[in-house]
């Protein structure tokens, strides 16, 4: 009896949550604020700076979305979520979307009733070792001690990699990135493994970056992207096409600085549709026709956002690699605006 009451309540609240999330766009507009689930602090991707302003690669995508939906990139509230709380925060409606380095996997997309609407960063797990070990490939790491964060998929990937290559290792488990860096520097482990973007940032902040190399093997696929709830396709479309607009803008050479000018003078029909001069692309998703132009003008196109936060001119110094546009040999590919 008690159990059935409990389950009934659960079902009823799930149903109500379902109704509420039927119109995330309307909720956001009524609230006048976009609530973006973010990281609790990840170098280059999202963290508040010393003046309490959120900055980072993921943050800029949220701001572009805020500009598209509400017309103002500053009307975004960032809610820090941890690895444990992120998906529940999204499912319960506490945040409108997650942009916080979440890997797109089958079970998350289906079983957790979430939708990954795109990939804004292709990452993968790599290794960093000291140069004087004389190792040039991860397959030579037989018998090595490896610093690894516990309770993450990187731990499982590591085990898989060593097993499939028939070599052994000793894990040194650490709680977080900072501890891993300290242990690695103190010589407690021969190799440190985490996402390649994190390795690059860590290497850049070592006292002697030149004495450390990141091995060429990338042992996992980590497509990171924005996540929305299942069942609200309009909202999913908005997030997906805002990201695509930023990619198309880079492909077509539309930047933060020249967007207005391009809108006035460009003769390329796709640019004209993207910037809302021709057709009614924005209104098809429930926004207005200038929505994508505003998104581009918030922090620039995909390439500009990349360069400003994590690109080679920043101290983090990530190469575009897989995140290069498809025309330059990368994987970033936007379907056409038509």
């Amino acid at each position: 009896m008690k159990k059935s009451v409990f389950l009934g309540t659960l079902a009823a609240s799930a149903l109500m949550a379902g109704f509420a999330s039927a119109g995330t766009l309307d909720d956001v507009k009524a609230r006048g604020e976009l609530i973006c689930g973010s990281n609790t602090g990840l170098t280059g991707f999202g963290a508040p700076d010393a003046n309490n302003n959120w900055t980072g690669f993921d943050v800029d995508l949220c701001r572009a979305l805020g500009a598209a939906v509400l017309g103002d990139p500053s009307k975004v509230k960032f809610v820090p979520t941890t690895g444990e709380t992120r998906f529940t925060a999204l499912a319960s409606g506490e945040v409108d979307l997650l942009v916080r380095n979440s890997t797109w996997t089958y079970s998350r997309d289906t079983d957790l009733k979430l939708d990954f609407v795109g990939v804004n960063y292709y990452d993968g797990q790599g290794f960093m070792v000291k140069k004087d070990l004389g190792i040039l490939s991860a397959k030579e790491l037989d018998g090595a001690t490896v610093c690894i964060q516990t309770g993450t998929t990187t731990e499982l990937n590591l085990a898989d990699f060593f097993k499939s290559n028939n070599i052994s290792y000793t894990p040194v488990t650490v709680a977080d990135d900072a501890e891993a860096q300290r242990q690695y520097m103190a010589g407690a482990c021969d190799a440190f493994t985490t996402d390649a973007s994190g390795l690059a940032a860590t290497r850049a902040t070592l006292p002697d970056p030149d004495n450390h190399i990141i091995l060429p093997e990338i042992i996992s696929k980590e497509p990171l992207g924005p996540v929305v709830r299942h069942g609200d396709n309009q909202w999913g479309d908005i997030v997906r096409w805002t990201l695509n607009a930023l990619l198309t803008a880079e492909e077509k050479g539309v930047t933060k600085a020249n967007a207005e000018e391009m809108a006035a003078s460009s003769t390329d029909p796709e640019v004209r549709r993207l910037l809302g001069v021709e057709g009614d692309m924005g209104t098809m998703t429930g926004l207005d026709k200038d929505a994508f132009k505003r998104a581009i003008m918030a922090n620039g196109n995909y390439g500009e956002i990349f360069a400003a936060n994590i690109g080679e001119s920043t101290p983090i110094g990530l190469a575009r690699g897989l995140n290069e546009l498809w025309i330059n040999g990368g994987l970033q590919y936007s379907p056409p605006f038509r």
Partner: protein, 482 residues
């Protein structure tokens, strides 16, 4: 007739001689305390060597730390230049740049005076409670808090108007502490509303309305308790106040705000962080859990079946569940059961569950105090013809609470330190949350000990003061001659 004193007899007394060198002063102390046996001598040498080794690494590391630099690599460069390559020293520059975030979180920078003033007023509000309205202590405390507040506000670069306002306020409070120290207790009663208003801002009428609810509660209770008894009167008063809070208050305060829009710019809970967050959660939970804990302890010893069962059930359930579970319930589960789109603040949810958690522990500590009272005290209270509440108030509780002081303070210290666990639900506590944010800055990535030491030092200062106060209180309340 005096006989001549023989030559070998001394006429005057000899003055006392100093004990031999081995039996006095430092040497004696050393011999007795450090080198009394061969084993003790060896242990002393080992201990001193250990302390020396630790200090030899730690003190230069702390002392040679760099205070001005814009990044960790610059720190390392400066250290390498001044101390030579391969030397290690702290990089305090990170604390120098980020200390405001460690203290205030993401609170708007031009409003730093508000939490600072609220913090100062907290001590003024505590003074009459902690020191029973003893005049000289209260005046000294309020005066010292006032001076420190002025220095802090000036250091934070607050504008003149707010410093002036705070100066007048603190001067007035010092005067009150001088003239009528017991009257300061009114500030204590009003403090929850004042603190809320200063921290969260918004219309002044909201907190005023909430206070009015308590006034209604008090009047109804006082008016009815003679006729229907303490408990029933309490229930009726609570219902009346709830009606006011839930349905009437918003209309009244809305009308008042429309007529007289006085207020401060609102600050959202998610802008709280660092020690501000730790203090908001810790102080609220400490203040609220003591009365709830007392009621639960009494409930557990009650003869009434229902009250007893409910108290026992609550206490045992809460004590059987880890605090982290409660925090996850606050953060994740409650959101599913509440109606969608209800904006039930995460910090408020966390405060409520931390309070309930702490109350269960306090209840058990106080029950220990109640159990330690001799049976005769209860019988004496009955023999005097006191009813239950009078007996509790006048005879039982003062003694039981006195016995429980060390346990209560221990619980409070533990609770205050446990506030750092809120990092697990994504709140920016000083230890993990803000540290992680500071490290996410590429300039400070790779820094490890400095933020922990800084935060640890502040926590130590707070917890050590609480501990010293509890010792003062124990001495002060000591009535026996053991």
């Amino acid at each position: 007739m005096e006989t001549a004193t023989p030559i070998f007899v001394r006429n005057e007394m000899l003055g006392p001689k100093e004990p031999p060198t081995s039996q006095r002063g430092v040497v004696k102390w050393f011999r007795e305390n450090l080198f009394s046996t061969p084993l003790n001598s060896i242990l002393t040498v080992i201990g001193v060597a250990f302390v020396y080794l630790v200090l030899k690494t730690v003190v230069p590391w702390v002392w040679n730390g760099v205070w001005t630099a814009s990044s960790l690599s610059e720190c390392r460069q400066i250290i390498a230049e001044t101390l030579g390559p391969d030397s290690h020293a702290a990089c305090w520059a990170m604390i120098a740049e980020r200390w405001k975030q460690f203290i205030y979180g993401f609170y708007p920078m031009d409003s730093y005076w508000r939490p600072t003033l609220a913090f100062a007023l907290m001590f003024v509000a505590l003074a009459p409670v902690l020191y029973f309205g003893i005049r000289h202590i209260n005046v000294r405390m309020v005066g010292a808090v006032g001076v420190l507040l002025m220095i802090a506000l000036w250091g934070l670069g607050t504008d003149g108007a707010h410093i002036g306002l705070a100066l007048v306020l603190m001067a007035a409070l010092t005067a009150v502490a001088w003239v009528a120290p017991k009257k300061l207790v009114w500030l204590t009663l009003l403090y929850p509303a004042i603190g809320f208003f200063l921290l969260w801002g918004g219309s002044v009428w909201g907190p005023v309305g909430a206070l009015l609810g308590f006034v209604i509660l008090a009047f109804v209770w006082l008016g009815l308790q003679r006729q229907v008894g303490v408990v029933v009167a309490g229930g009726i008063a609570l219902i009346t106040a709830a009606v006011w809070w839930l349905s009437v208050q918003t209309h009244v305060t809305g009308a008042l705000h429309a007529a007289m829009p006085i207020g401060l710019p609102p600050v959202r809970s998610d802008q709280f962080g660092g020690f501000l967050l730790a203090f908001v959660i810790g102080v609220t939970a400490i203040a609220a859990s003591l009365p709830i804990g007392i009621l639960l302890a009494l409930g557990r010893r009650s003869d009434m079946f229902l009250i007893k069962t409910m108290s026992v059930g609550f206490i045992e359930f809460v004590r059987g569940v880890p605090l982290i579970t409660m925090l996850f319930v606050a953060s994740l589960l409650l959101q599913y059961f509440l109606p969608p789109q209800t904006n039930f603040d995460l910090i408020l949810r966390v405060i409520i569950l931390v309070t309930l958690f702490s109350a269960a522990y306090i209840a058990e500590v106080i029950r220990g105090g109640l159990a330690a009272l001799p049976r005769g005290q209860y019988e004496a209270a009955d023999a005097l013809g006191l009813d239950y509440w009078q007996a509790q108030r006048l005879i039982i509780m003062p003694q039981a609470l006195k016995i429980s002081i060390p346990g209560i303070v221990s619980s409070f210290i533990g609770l205050f330190k446990d506030t750092t666990l809120v990092a697990l639900v994504g709140l920016a506590d000083p230890l993990q949350g803000i540290t992680k944010i500071a490290r996410a800055d590429i300039n400070w990535k790779g820094i490890y000990w400095e933020p922990y030491l800084f935060v640890g030092l502040i926590f130590f200062a707070c917890c050590f003061s609480m501990s010293r106060y509890s010792m003062y209180l124990e001495r002060k309340l000591k009535r026996d001659h053991r």
